[in-house]
């Protein structure tokens, strides 16, 4: 076995916008132009765009690598190239060893077949041999907790049962390289924890894992290394925490300007002491500096801030008025600053900061910017949940 499990070298991938020619009538002119242009022209025509440009990285055996980036950054395209579903336009992708993917595992399920039949079907689809499935059948069924419904057609299953069945089979494939795309976003909380636990087991057993997710907390938990993609290019590749910080910093970079509103949040900066910062340790003090701009005269404007966790649950909220600090009165063109000091007694995770401008007496909301920044809180203790109570075990 070579040391490198996956290699992606100078990969470019071209996609077409709009419809691909679906009829012969469209094909013939396009073939003619292709022949006229003399075949191998790598340049883009006006309907094409690069989904990936010069992407290069290698993954060692036993390494867990996260791939993050905004929607459309090319994350899923990278996975499709790794699994061989698509081929690169130029460049090359090599995989050493067997590879299996956890990509919407429900895909292989056939609605008319029973749970039992589907276990064999998706098992083989994911590259298992039938005798392997037979050997692990009881284990798979136990994992899925679907014993009673094994002989019911899958079309009568709920979507949760669907996901459980699919995952249970996929969980028992033992590939050298596992590719995971956003599976953690399906299912309920229990199911998600089961997935994360399972991924950890796989990593511990020494499999190579490539993990794509928007779930930054899970990425930071599972992977030591992270690759940040932006518009089809590798922006950063390195230590997971550093890369996640970079990603969060880029997300909050936009200046918020809105000329149509009476008053608006023009800028939000999160600081630690004097320097701008988005990564904190549990218990750190952060300063949230909100700049408010006005287009017309306004009075009794309260500034409210709130934090939400990854799943959108409100962790904390307050406002200048609720804190007894009164409201702002602004003249057109004037700018005002409000600073909040927050003690981040939070568990490990990513929290999104929202800033709103209210006038409470007439219940009017002038502006809401969410997320205006995303903070990442780290902690050496493995504390789950939202609040951090700084636990210690006493002797």
């Amino acid at each position: 076995m070579p040391e490198i499990a996956l290699g992606v070298h100078h990969v470019y991938k071209k996609f077409r916008k709009g419809e691909v020619y679906d009829t012969l009538r469209d094909l013939i002119p396009s073939l003619v132009t292709r022949v006229m242009r003399n075949g191998s022209n790598p340049a883009l025509s006006n309907r094409e765009f690069w989904a990936l440009q010069d992407v290069t990285f290698e993954v060692k055996r036993g390494e867990a690598v996260g791939i993050i980036g905004h929607n459309g950054a090319g994350k899923s395209t990278v996975l499709k190239l790794l699994t061989g579903i698509m081929g690169p336009t130029t460049g090359n992708v090599c995989v050493h060893g067997s590879l299996s993917s956890l990509i919407e595992i429900g895909a292989g399920l056939h609605p008319d077949l029973t749970g039992r039949e589907n276990i064999y079907l998706i098992g083989t689809v994911l590259g298992m041999r039938r005798h392997q499935i037979k050997r692990k059948f009881d284990e798979i069924v136990a994992f899925s907790e679907l014993e009673e419904f094994l002989d019911t057609p899958v079309k009568r299953y709920s979507s949760g049962m669907h996901a459980r069945l699919g995952f249970s089979v996929a969980a028992h494939v033992e590939p050298d390289v596992l590719v995971v795309d956003e599976v953690l976003s399906v299912g309920d909380y229990v199911f998600q924890s089961k997935c994360i636990q399972h991924m950890k087991d796989i990593i511990r057993r020494g499999a190579t894992v490539v993990f794509v997710s928007h779930h930054l907390k899970a990425v930071a938990d599972l992977c030591h290394r992270c690759i940040l993609l932006d518009r089809g290019r590798v922006l950063k590749d390195g230590d997971a925490n550093l890369v996640i910080r970079e990603y969060l910093a880029r997300g909050a970079e936009k200046t918020l300007e809105d000329t149509d509103k009476e008053v608006y949040v023009s800028r939000v900066v999160v600081r630690s002491g004097d320097r701008e910062c988005l990564r904190f340790d549990a218990g750190d003090v952060s300063i949230v500096d909100v700049e408010v701009g006005a287009n017309s005269a306004c009075s009794k404007v309260a500034v409210a801030i709130h934090l939400r966790d990854e799943v959108g649950l409100e962790v904390f909220s307050t406002s200048t008025e609720r804190l007894g600090k009164g409201t702002l009165t602004l003249k057109p063109g004037e700018r005002a600053h409000v600073r909040f000091r927050l003690h981040l007694h939070l568990a490990r995770g990513t929290y999104h900061l929202g800033v709103a401008l209210y006038r409470y007496d007439i219940e009017k909301r002038y502006d809401l910017k969410f997320p205006s920044a995303s903070l990442y809180v780290g902690d050496v203790r493995d504390v789950r949940g939202i609040a951090n109570l700084y636990p210690e075990v006493l002797e």
Partner: protein
């Protein structure tokens, strides 16, 4: 090819799935594998009857037997083409989500039709032995003849499945072809009826196979080796060329489907 060997269990499961879902929630179930060709045989008998009336002779058992022997593999040809032409499109979620050698889909489509052919053959054999058509060593020809037919259908299947993935036109062309191809293939009639021009019909690679089957099964004579070799060469060439083409365009399946 090696890869296909590694995925042989998947090929088996896909075939099994295609057979299984075809007969699920249907009252007659596997009986359909017999009923479908029975309808073609019925039409064939009608045509034979009309031809016999025209030539002012009575219809005999051999007429019915030749029509049956040719109609059943013909039903296999028609169903294989129909089924393979949509085999990749109807598995779009698998094609775009999970990697596997994609020739599995058209192969499984042909294999599941082969199952129907086998069922129909068993029933036909029972009927023939009851009717006293008799048996001879010539019956061993059935295996290579059906083998050539399968190779040909796999070749065409690879071609039409990938073709219709890119251009849905192919699906409609196949529909029209399988509807009217029966007029260009001696199923209800014999190529010998055309005398000198018979070879034109035999250029259709399916013709020598069907006629070979009726010669061996009904008349206990060996097939025409020259034309069978021709069919075999055409089948292998089609299959090889289609496979190469299929593999060449396979990487763009996921984005073009």
């Amino acid at each position: 090819m090696n890869e296909l060997l590694r995925y042989r269990d998947l090929l088996w499961m896909m075939t099994w799935r295609d057979i299984r879902i075809k007969y699920k929630q249907s009252i007659l179930g596997v009986m359909w594998a017999v009923l479908m060709p029975a309808i073609i045989v019925g039409a064939g008998i009608l045509v034979k009857f009309a031809l016999a009336r025209l030539s002012a002779r009575s219809m005999d058992l051999q007429d019915v037997a030749t029509v049956s022997v040719k109609a059943i593999p013909w039903a296999f040809v028609v169903a294989s083409l129909r089924f393979t032409s949509t085999s990749l499109i109807s598995n779009a979620t698998l094609v775009t989500k999970i990697y596997m050698p994609r020739e599995i889909f058209p192969l499984a489509a042909v294999a599941s039709q082969l199952f129907d052919l086998t069922v129909a053959c068993v029933v036909l054999t029972a009927i023939f032995s009851a009717a006293g058509i008799g048996a001879s060593w010539q019956l061993l020809w059935i295996l290579p003849l059906v083998g050539v037919l399968v190779i040909l259908m796999v070749g065409l299947g690879l071609l039409v499945s990938s073709g219709s993935l890119f251009f849905r036109d192919v699906k409609y062309i196949v529909e029209v072809l399988v509807t009217f191809a029966i007029f260009f293939t001696p199923v209800f009639y014999d190529s010998e009826m055309f005398g000198e021009q018979a070879f034109l019909l035999k250029l259709n690679p399916v013709t020598p196979i069907l006629e070979g089957l009726s010669r061996t099964v009904v008349f206990h004579r060996p097939p025409e080796i020259f034309w069978i070799s021709y069919s075999f060469i055409v089948a292998v060439a089609t299959c090889g060329a289609s496979y190469l083409l299929f593999k060449k365009v396979e990487p763009s399946f996921a984005e073009c489907i």
